[in-house]
């Protein structure tokens, strides 16, 4: 079997949630945990205690400084969120996510699922980096879930999907999406050029304009080849008048 999804926890504050997440990951065959700026002493007794035998996952857990770094080598990344937001981003259920991610995995992609902070969930900046939002359908009057429980339910759905659905998968003509770092590189250069050209200079609008631009490109699920094409398009447009002279 190919690699199951990577679980990424953004700024987890409680070490026992990290341990409990590791335990439920292993319950459902997930192995790789990544943390973005957790509390410094996260690998403590409480984490080991709640891991309850899944310490191997904690030992192999890598820590990152930013969400972008933590997902840079992955191709398809979804994020869980309890809230509806204004952002233009597809919202799907855990079950749908499991089917889609399994499909990506069968096409040899590396995929990941991002979970937000215990208190406040994900920020728009985190969400702007991922393709889709997974929303666990919940009692609208009591929708604050424990972090490890969310990990457990998402992992559970993944395991059910993998073990129910045999090998049927829709063809995507061997399409291999670009890695996140390739996409982020493109965003960085585009935004730099747009800063220089003055497009992003409208006061108070820069953040939202960047987010909107990122979102529309993320929805396209770009391949590496398409990223190269887009680099070429931006460079060519930027250098326009110089070339235009020769026309």
């Amino acid at each position: 079997m190919n690699n199951p999804p990577v679980i990424i926890l953004i700024q987890p504050q409680l070490s026992w949630n990290i341990g409990a997440s590791a335990r439920s990951m292993l319950n459902f065959g997930l192995q790789e945990l990544r943390l973005v700026t957790p509390k410094q002493d996260w690998q403590n007794k409480k984490a080991v205690g709640t891991a309850a035998g899944a310490e191997q996952i904690l030992k192999n857990t890598r820590v990152y400084k930013t969400t972008a770094n933590a997902i840079a080598d992955l191709q398809t990344v979804y994020a869980t969120s309890a809230r509806s937001r204004d952002m233009v981003k597809p919202v799907i259920t855990p079950r749908e996510a499991a089917v889609e991610l399994n499909e990506s995995i069968m096409h040899e992609q590396r995929v990941g699922i991002v979970f937000g902070r215990e208190k406040c969930g994900l920020k728009n900046d985190d969400l702007s980096l991922v393709e889709k939002v997974i929303k666990i359908p919940l009692n609208p009057n009591f929708s604050s879930m424990n972090l490890a429980h969310s990990v457990s339910i998402i992992s559970y759905e993944w395991y059910q999907t993998v073990h129910e659905i045999p090998t049927s998968h829709t063809t995507m003509s061997n399409r291999m999406p670009a890695t996140k770092s390739e996409i982020f590189n493109f965003f960085a250069r585009l935004e730099k050029d747009l800063d220089n050209s003055g497009f992003l200079k409208i006061p108070g609008k820069r953040e939202i304009m960047i987010r909107n631009i990122r979102n529309l490109f993320l929805r396209a699920n770009l391949t590496e080849q398409e990223i190269r094409t887009l680099h070429g398009v931006v460079t060519s447009l930027r250098d326009y008048p110089k070339n235009a002279v020769s026309n």
Copy 2:
């Protein structure tokens, strides 16, 4: 709606598991918790802490001396178990259980789901009291689940069944896709600019490059607003040096 399933925990040893179970019950609309001979001081700070707002469930929790007493008033009762046993008893998945229990509830039955001890699960005596066994499909190499996580997954499946998970809404906040003519207008202006900048001049490649660029933007399912943004991006890049001078 009729009464959702009652959750019955047999001899829970850790008060924070009781609190966490209450929390995940309420997350999925379950209200009634019963305990069979828990540790005496179960209703403590740890339980309240992990309940995290679901204290009402803890306050209403009733304690029983035997499993038989705890389920005496119920009509259909299933029990969760990680192990296969010799007992002649149907074994079903959480999803199947949710459908069946919901059906019973719609026939105005009172139903319950029994969970075993943290360390050793259910005894044959407990199992002999229930109709069916619910087995959560798990990694066979690491099948020891946290009690509250099991409660969470069973509750989750119940909620999904009752609410017949709405098909994924690409919510997108009143997202209205652009008309095709708006998209074609954008293609036309982009391709004209790219012709002028020289990008499409590679002999024999023009057709396929245009097709690739169109395809990636079409996949993004752009809104009218996003088309306007893209027009702005292209114009700004095209006029880059002129603006850049002012930097």
